[in-house]
């Protein structure tokens, strides 16, 4: 698909044909890529946009007066505007900060907004299903400010336990929570959570690393205050992430990293930070990555997020049913068994076989799944697990990927049986 060309109806086969890596052979098999929750594969328009940028338009941004420098700046700022539109940022591009990834975005919130606004006794409320990126920065902030970090429990049905939410919200200044669990696939009720947070005058930050790539996100409609996500989980490149926050919050936040690009003035007696988003973008930013992210967002918009969700939901329902029918309880799904408010992330606990061994055997079939704790150790502890083998879908996934997965799991069970 050429950039700018519209896909009128979603076709996973067409998406698949756009992703060069999906034609690769691994261990004598065509690759079966089921690790999109870790990192998605890039379609050709994204790769080509970045190549073209490096071939013809590269220069540093925000500095030069020559033509290619202007083009690079336009490309970089154009990406910011595209991302703002994608998440329906009410204030537009001036609310979108480019970071390195979701993790850096959370560190920025904690170390800038958190350190400036939170003190002893203030509570940051998380959930047991958070990624370490939305846990560790808050523990680090606790060391320096004496805040309390609290967790919303997860039910045996792999959903947030909101029965005691009113109690949990006492003293809370920030509710920081994932839009979609990278282990369970559970999608959380963000609008309800935002309204609950606002009812106690707390803000809400959402980890969109998974949810932004697998569903439409409208920050204004959801009434969010912060949103974080990564380029490489939404068909874009590594090395670029996003922090969105409302303009009035952004304007009140002190700078994060110091250096070039983030200043209005530097003297021998001090400095004055720049205003707006550039205050948080010290040093040469990820320009080619922004170009790639722009192309990825265009690509997703052309597919239509509703179509992406419908496709992935169909794949997930099919996989959940067949896992149950084929293995009769020997392969347990760690996550909801229905597809209501659930994304295409399927964590598996295979009877008698450690996740690493599952992933190792699957690799021999060319199947890429992720074994381990998925940077969510509190959640693994909650369910008494050390590791799961996680399969996850993207817009390019097909039921034939599930066919190979099931065949390889069957082989694993025989081998270790």
């Amino acid at each position: 698909m050429a950039p700018g060309q519209r896909v009128t109806s979603f076709s996973a086969r067409r998406v698949r044909a756009d992703v060069p890596q999906l034609t690769r052979m691994v261990n004598g098999h065509t690759i079966t890529y089921l690790d999109t929750a870790s990192s998605s594969l890039q379609p050709r328009p994204v790769i080509e946009a970045m190549s073209r940028y490096y071939e013809l338009r590269h220069a540093n941004v925000h500095r030069g007066v020559y033509q290619t420098a202007n083009e690079a700046t336009e490309a970089y700022e154009g990406a910011r505007a595209r991302v703002a539109g994608f998440i329906r940022a009410p204030g537009g591009a001036s609310e979108v900060v480019f970071t390195k990834n979701t993790t850096e975005s959370f560190n920025l919130i904690a170390k800038s907004w958190g350190a400036a606004n939170l003190g002893p006794g203030d509570v940051v409320l998380l959930s047991e299903m958070e990624h370490h990126a939305n846990i560790v920065p808050w523990f680090q902030l606790r060391e320096t400010t004496g805040i309390e970090v609290r967790f919303i429990p997860v039910t045996d049905g792999f959903r947030l336990d909101l029965d005691n939410l009113d109690e949990l919200l006492q003293g809370v200044r920030l509710l920081s929570i994932t839009g979609m669990s990278n282990v369970l696939g559970t999608k959380n009720p963000l609008k309800e959570l935002a309204s609950a947070a606002h009812s106690v005058n707390a803000l809400i930050a959402v980890d969109g690393a998974q949810s932004v790539a697998h569903g439409a996100t409208d920050v204004a409609d959801l009434e969010l205050d912060f949103l974080t996500f990564s380029g490489h989980k939404m068909l874009g490149p590594t090395g670029i992430g996003v922090l969105w926050t409302r303009e009035e919050i952004l304007d009140s936040m002190p700078p994060f990293l110091g250096g070039g690009g983030m200043i209005a003035d530097v003297r021998t007696d001090g400095y004055t930070p720049a205003r707006g988003v550039t205050r948080f973008e010290a040093g040469t930013p990820p320009i080619a990555e922004a170009v790639g992210l722009n192309a990825a967002v265009r690509y997703l918009e052309a597919l239509g997020m509703a179509a992406v969700v419908a496709h992935e939901s169909e794949l997930t329902a099919d996989a959940l049913t067949r896992l149950e029918l084929t293995f009769d309880g020997r392969v347990r799904v760690i996550g909801p068994l229905d597809t209501i408010e659930r994304g295409g992330v399927i964590s598996l606990d295979v009877e008698g076989v450690h996740a690493h061994d599952v992933a190792q055997v699957l690799d021999q079939f060319g199947v890429c799944v992720r074994p381990g704790h998925h940077c969510a150790k509190p959640l693994m502890r909650r369910f008494g697990l050390t590791a799961t083998a996680r399969a996850s879908f993207g817009p390019y996934s097909l039921t034939k990927d599930t066919d190979v997965l099931l065949e390889a799991i069957e082989h694993t069970l025989k081998m270790f049986g």
């Binding site: 076989v353 450690h354 996740a355 690493h356 061994d357 190792q360 055997v361 021999q364 074994p371 381990g372 704790h373 150790k377 693994m380 050390t386 590791a387 081998m415 270790f416």
Partner: protein, 159 residues
Amino acid sequence: MSNLEDLYREIILDHYRSPRNRGELPTPPAHRVEGFNPLCGDDVVIYLNVRDEVLEDIKLTGHGCSISQASSSLMSAAVKGRSLAQVQSTIDTFKELMTGHDASLSKDEEIDEELDLRTLGELAALQGVVKFPVRIKCAMLAWNALRQGLEEFAQSPGH
């Protein structure tokens, strides 16, 4: 599948399904040491009873993949009842098996002798792991903990 069969030899699967020397020993007199693999969350706890420079008893608990669990089971069988000098030598030999060529290159003097797999007995079954670099950490987990445990024991007061 040949690589996979090299990795998952029958001896390894046997030790994974029926691990030897599984359990705990009362501390004291036993020395307790833990090992973690932060990448995958695997853990091992080893209990060591040392008397008169002999590792009289060893027990292990923990969670992990077949490679880490089989390696700890095989290790316990290989070192139990041996003198501390023999245990140390087995640790060194096993580590050499796992690090292979790289280790010999990094040393100043050349190693003349090929690693004698016969001295390793059943442990040699783990040599297929070397072809899977990310799994070497799994195989080394218990061995690193054992070495740490013996060092701690040697430095403990009253020893």
